[in-house]
Amino acid sequence: MGLMFPRETKAIIECLLFVSKEPLTLKVMSQVLEMPENEVKVLADELMSEYNNDRRGININLIANGYQMCTRPEMACHIEKLYKPQGTHGLSKAALETLAIVAYKQPITRAEIEAIRGVKVDSAIGTLVEKNLIREVGRKEGPGRPMLFGTTSSFLRYFGLQDLSQLPDPDEFTRRHGGSQEDNPGEETINGEEGEQDGF
């Protein structure tokens, strides 16, 4: 096993990604392959660029600190012909705003979120907790010891983010998107290959 047979090992990684339900971390793969993580990483990254540079139907993306096989976004219309869309209704505006605040300000209390949004956020928080996008991460010291909220790893998966450091810089993003509605053209990538974040 290992770098002595890189081709076969890459085939195993391919197979593991194919059968996995969730993004596979290097840690898990290195346990299965009985190989050091850094060697697995070399091969997994090679496999990822083979997949992603070739305009194939399947991509490999880095999501929630793991590798995951996904369909290329442009394929959605064909898949939906095969399967009825599951009626994925997105999050409400209130939930998205609340989530944005939690994502950038975590850990944060309900009261602090309410101060920013200017409204009660009980129901938005309820929705987000129920969807396992945020969770209680502790208690704030002080009167009443209020709950502190933070994002979950499902949050990363839901939005296709590799980790929290991938969240765009708010000022930067605002400069590009705020007010003016100029789209950024070009192909959509979730993330992965050259580490560039087209999608932002």
């Binding site: 194919f18 059968v19 996995s20 339900k21 993306n61 995951q68 096989m69 996904c70 369909t71 290329r72 976004p73 394929m75 959605a76 898949i79 994925t88 997105g90 999050l91 505006k93 209130a94 998205l96 705003e97 989530l99 944005a100 605040i101 994502a103 950038y104 920013i116 949004r117 200017g118 409204v119 009660k120 839901y158 939005f159 296709g160 983010l161 765009p168 708010p170 993003f173 605002t174 998107h177 705020g178 959509e188 979730i190 999608g199 932002f200």
Partner: protein, 248 residues
């Protein structure tokens, strides 16, 4: 209702204020407070006219706006201290809050874009059960002959302790029919088959071993089970044919 108003739904007072600022195309650092306050109050009264419940936050903001407006109308303090004058613009606090809110209002768009993108990305619908068939310990060969099966039976008989001799709780006779049912029930829960010798527990009686064996023969004859042995003297595995699927 004599006339129709298209009321947009706002997430809160800040959201409504932003809408008004955009509509009036005004600079957030120099809000025409009188004008904005007037429009804000119009919106609220429109809501009340439509019997929509106006959340308390909207009313608190209305009071704030009126307070700011009032302070703006007060005569300016003597201009000796320029900096103090700058600092004390009654709108400052509101502007700061609006800017903070706006940051996240915009970032919410980022999450919405990502959400939309991810809604169009599919992963393979894997379930644990899809892989269990790969985990058969053995790679059994079909067509096991009777002599190997009999040999296995002898082994079991050698291991068996005759319970009659131990003088424990007397056991009722087992019928072949009961045993067949039991075997089928056990196989139902074991898609991956049961090892022949697992059909017997260590303290099995001779009678039970024989009855079990007869039951197996009967089930094989009826085509309800299959027996496999991967190699001579290897483990004999029993599989239910009733679990057979389109496995290639």
């Amino acid at each position: 209702m004599a006339y129709q108003i298209r009321l947009e739904v706002f997430e809160g007072p800040f959201d409504l204020l932003f809408h008004l600022l955009e509509k009036n195309e005004v600079d957030i650092y120099d809000i025409p407070i009188a004008k904005i306050t007037e429009q804000y109050l119009e919106y609220i009264s429109a809501m009340q006219m439509l019997d929509l419940e106006v959340a308390s936050e909207f009313l608190v903001m209305a009071a704030n706006l009126l307070a700011i407006k009032a302070r703006m109308l007060l005569p300016k303090p003597p201009a000796e201290d320029e900096e103090a004058l700058e600092d004390s613009d009654p709108r400052d606090e509101l502007v700061e809050k609006l800017l903070e809110y706006k940051k996240f209002k915009v970032m919410a768009e980022f999450f919405q874009e990502k959400e939309t993108l991810m809604n169009r990305v599919y992963t393979r619908p894997n379930e644990d059960e899809m892989f269990y068939h790969l985990f058969r310990e053995e790679n059994p060969l079909e067509g096991i002959d009777m002599s190997t099966l009999l040999k296995a039976l002898q082994e079991v008989l050698e291991r068996a302790v005759d319970r009659d001799l131990t003088g424990e709780i007397p056991r009722d006779e087992v019928t072949t029919r009961d045993k067949m049912k039991e075997i089928m029930r056990r196989l139902f829960f074991h898609n991956r088959g049961i090892a022949f010798k697992d059909l017997f527990h260590p303290r099995v009686t001779k009678v039970e071993v024989i009855v079990t064996f007869l039951a197996l023969l009967e089930l094989i004859k009826l085509g309800r089970i299959r027996a496999y042995q991967s190699r001579a003297f290897g483990e004999i595995m029993i599989y239910s044919r009733e679990n057979d699927t389109a496995e290639a």
